[in-house]
Structure formats: C-alpha cells, structure tokens
Symmetry: C2
C-alpha cells in the first residue's frame, strides 16, 4: 500500500511553512510564504494558495491540517483571537474546507507541535510535557497526564503570556498584557535586544551593522553567535536567562518531565537553551528542577508543520 | 446510621488548624496551634498532640487526613520538601500512622483545599479550577479536566513560585527563586508592604503603630482596612494587583473557568480580590479573561482542614 499523504501547514506569526507529509512523517514538498503585513483576506488567500501549490505536486493528498497562531475553538474549528495575524473570529476550518474542497483540521500551532514532539520527538515516553516555540512570539502546548491539555474552551497554554515582569513593558501585538514572557524571550525579543545593544554601543558589532543600515533580527544574531561573536552570544544568553525565568515558574506550577524548546529561534541551539536551563536549575524548587529535562525540539522549526500534518493524518483526533 | 467522622488537619506555614469533621463536612471540635519556630521534632510533636486533643473529644473517628505545606510524594506519603516548615524528607504518613495508631492520609495542603472547593464549594460544577491560598506563603491546587493535577511526581501547582518579577527579590524561605509571586502577594507580603509603608511615612497609620512598637502583620492590615483606613486599603489593593499579575499569567496558561482565592488572607475579601480581578480583566488575553470567574473560597480559611478531612473520608482517593 502506498503511504497516506496529507498537507501540513504551520502558519506562524511572520511566515508560513508547509509541506506534503506522509504517514511516516517524511516531508516531500515544502512551501514557504511571508505575510508582509497582509490583511485578513490577503492572509487567507496566501494560506489557500500555499496549499494549492503543494497540492499540485501531490494530487493524492487526503486532507489538510493547519496549525495557526491563535486561540482556537477547536471543536468548531474557529480562530477566535490572534496576537499576531488578522485572523480573529474566522471560521477557519469551514472556510478553508469549502475553498479547498478537502477535509480540513485546525488547531493552535504549538498544540500540534507539542503532540508530535510527544508522540514521535523529543518528549517521547513522557506524560508531562511543556512545549515552548520561540518564533515571532512564543507559542506553547501542554501534554498533561499523557493528553493534550486544552483548558475550558481550548485556549490553554499561552505561556508566552505568563507575566514575568509585573511592572514591565506593554506586550506588543493585540495582547493587553504587561511584562509577558513573549516580550522578553521570543525570536523578536532577540532582535529587539540586539537593537538596544546597537544603540547603547555604536562601535560594537551590532552598532556598526546598524550604522550600515542592516536590519537586525533574531536570525542575524543567531548567525553571528554561531560564528563566535561575543556580543551576539551575550544577547542570546540574556534572552535565554529571561526564558529561564518563565520556565522556572512553569516548572514549579506543572512539575513536567520535559520542556521542549522549538520554533525558529531553536536555530540558536545551546547558546539559547543552556542559559535557560541554568536558570531553572538554580531557581526552580529543587525537587522540580532535579526532575525536568530541557531539550531542543527533535523536529526543530518543523514541529508545527509536522504536528499539523499529524492532526490531519489522525482525522483531528489530537 | 451515625455520620462517619474523621480528623482533618491543615498544617499551614504559621499555624495549624484542625477539627473533627463528619461526612457532611460539619466541623465539631476545632484545634489551633502555632509553630513559633519549632524544629522538625517539635513540629511533628505539635501535630501529633493536636490530633490527640481533638481525638479525646471524638474517640469514634476513623482516620486522619493531613494537608501539609510541602511537596508531597503522594503515593508514598512522604513530605519531600517544604518552603515553610522543617519537614523536608519526612515519611509523614507512616510516621503519623504508627504514632497515632490510625489510618493516615497526607497530601499538599492546597491540593486538598482545591478538591473540596471543586466538589462542594466555590468551584462546584467547573472542570478547570485554579485554587490559590494566601497564607504565610501561597499554596495552590489545580483541577484540570475535572481531576486534581499532580504533575510528574506529585509536586505540581506551586503557583506561589511563578516568577512575576524576573529581576526581583530573593524568595524568602528555602526556595532558591527570585521574584516569586509569593514574595509579592502572600499574607506575609501584606505585612511586609505595611512595614515598608510605615518606614516611608512615619506619620501615617502604620508609621504611628510602628513607633508604638506594634507588630504589623497581614491580620492587622486587614482589620484596619475593614475599618476604613485608607492606607491599609491601599496596601491590600497593591498586593491584590500583584496577585492579579500572577493570576493573569496562569489564566493565559491554563484557561480555567474559576480561580478560587482562599487561605487566611481571604479575610480581606473584596478589598484584596477585586484589585486582582481588575488586573486579570485588563491584562489577560480577552477570550480567557471573559471566561474566568475569580471568587473567594466558600470555606474561607477552613478549605485546607475540610479538604484534609475529605481526603481521609475518601480513603485517600483524591
């Protein structure tokens, strides 16, 4: 029998990653799109066109799974609210299903990532898992007592909006919060920290790049850090320690066995994860700190896409 | 048939509350004890003597349930670690059972409180409940998907050690954390805030009381606030708002239907709870904020004792 194939789409805060995925989780055709400030209709058009592009290469696909950066009313397939994309109050499942003529499944992007890391990835065998995906913002998923935890209405696991600085800065985006973890430790926060460093030290690496008009984002910081630049490494370490403060709280609150770090920022690897781990080791309640492992996602920044595909392969039973 | 009766003991950070409790949760004989700096042996002696005192009044009791302010290895009845009492690494269940000659059940104090508020109290009918008890520190219990959530080893729900000020003060007690919610919003934090206010404003209510050598604790602040003192009300409002910052994070993380506020500090009532509620309403993600109710514990500061009794009545099946 040929493998079953579906399309998995991870619609992130800045970009879309998608692909044809088979039931062995092998990816056959990848697609990338950037939103670049698209409004609601344009965003949904970009999503549908990305699906059609990969579908052309694989007409045998059965269904499409979407992970979206939103609070999702999972039973009804509605995108209720999003901090990053203009897709609040969108009947996403029905709309895409009608437009594509295919079965469609939709869930929060990091819920799907957490499930795939739990079943097949870095958290295999663990029943208490926290997944944190650092991209434009911070997405999260929780596997508690072996099952995906959704909360009362499906909105659970917004760990990017844990308050780690109760007197701090306003959360960017649509979130009305103050001092949210996402303002201090997302991929975007890495870029912001580098911008601040550039301003403070005009003769430093980032100060010079800024003077040259280069755009300073998390990707550039990570690249320079891997090349050994001390300033870039310091920025990642600072963001990692702030991530660690948020993780300390959640490790105390949930007593997980594994914390999986994914999302685009996981490209920084141990330069980001080790400082976070060190803070948890120092500051979490000792019995909780001793137990927990903090590890990179097995599927790197593709966890979301593979998770969305797994959701579709399972017919939505996540 | 006469009602079944057990003893419920809530061993808090500062004091012990206990009583004979029947299967209708009516309390027949109460007992109070203060630790006053007791060491490990003295603490365990005080506990056993308190049980014997109420048992003398009710020789028909079946069992004893204990709620203790500790991380509890629930299956083995071991007190693994405590921030407030010298009872770390104590085989509490077996030790008390042998000493008292009765069946003994033990769990974290606020786990038992959460269960009793979930089954019989302020969170009845809700499947997603966060219980926060403000006493010397902050104890917590989580009911998720209708069941008490314990985490990987039984240590879950230490919401007092959510980090809400990542660059803040060291957590007092044995916790190695920094900026823990408990440093900013426990009963003890109310007393500390009043001490600071007294220092800053010597001619204010608390400044004068301090000059008279009065000990300023949470109880006195609450009493004066109920009498209408503006400074005392301001202190409770400030602590309430900091509590609200912690709750905002946990409401975003867990999407609960109800947050129950208990513990001794609940004597402050709406003077403490309304400012916390206002912060959650303003700052939590709107779909989570709209759903959640933040309410006082039905059983006030007796939730822990009743929960411990309920644990014993259930034969430990919480």
């Amino acid at each position: 029998m040929p493998p079953r194939r579906v399309i998995g789409i991870d619609a992130g805060g800045t970009k879309l990653l998608g692909g044809v995925v088979d039931d062995g989780l092998a990816v056959h055709h990848r697609v990338h799109r950037f939103w670049r400030g698209a409004d609601r209709r344009e965003t949904l058009d970009i999503v549908a066109e990305a699906v059609e592009e990969v579908r052309a290469a694989a007409p045998d696909i059965e269904a499409v799974g979407f992970g979206i950066p939103a609070l999702v009313d999972w039973e009804r397939g509605i995108s209720v609210w999003s901090n990053h994309l203009p897709i609040g109050d969108v009947p996403f499942r029905d709309l895409m299903s009608e437009r594509l003529g295919l079965p469609v499944y939709v869930d929060n992007d990091t819920n799907t990532a957490a499930m795939v890391e739990h079943r097949h990835g870095a958290a295999q065998g663990a029943d208490h898992v926290v997944m944190v995906a650092l991209g434009t913002g911070i997405g999260s998923g929780l596997v508690l007592d072996g099952r995906l935890y959704r909360g009362a209405r499906g909105f659970a696991a917004e760990l990017g909006h844990l308050v780690v600085d109760h007197d701090g800065e306003d959360c960017p985006g649509a979130c009305p919060g103050v001092g949210c973890l996402e303002t201090l430790a997302s991929g975007k926060a890495i870029g912001r920290a580098a911008e601040h460093a550039a301003e403070a030290e005009p003769r430093s690496t980032f100060g010079r790049l800024r003077a040259q008009g280069r755009e300073i984002g998390g990707g550039l910081v990570t690249e320079l850090a891997h090349d050994g630049d001390a300033q870039a490494r310091g920025i990642l370490a600072g963001v990692g320690r702030r991530l660690g403060a948020g993780l300390t709280g959640i490790v105390n609150a949930l007593n997980p066995e594994v914390v999986v770090i994914g999302g685009g920022a996981v490209a920084a690897g141990e330069l980001l994860i080790e400082p976070a781990r060190a803070v948890v080791r120092e500051r979490a309640l000792p019995p909780c700190a001793e137990l927990v492992r903090i590890v990179p996602a097995r599927f790197g920044e593709e966890s979301g896409m593979l998770g969305a595909a797994a959701l579709a392969l399972d017919g939505g039973r996540a």
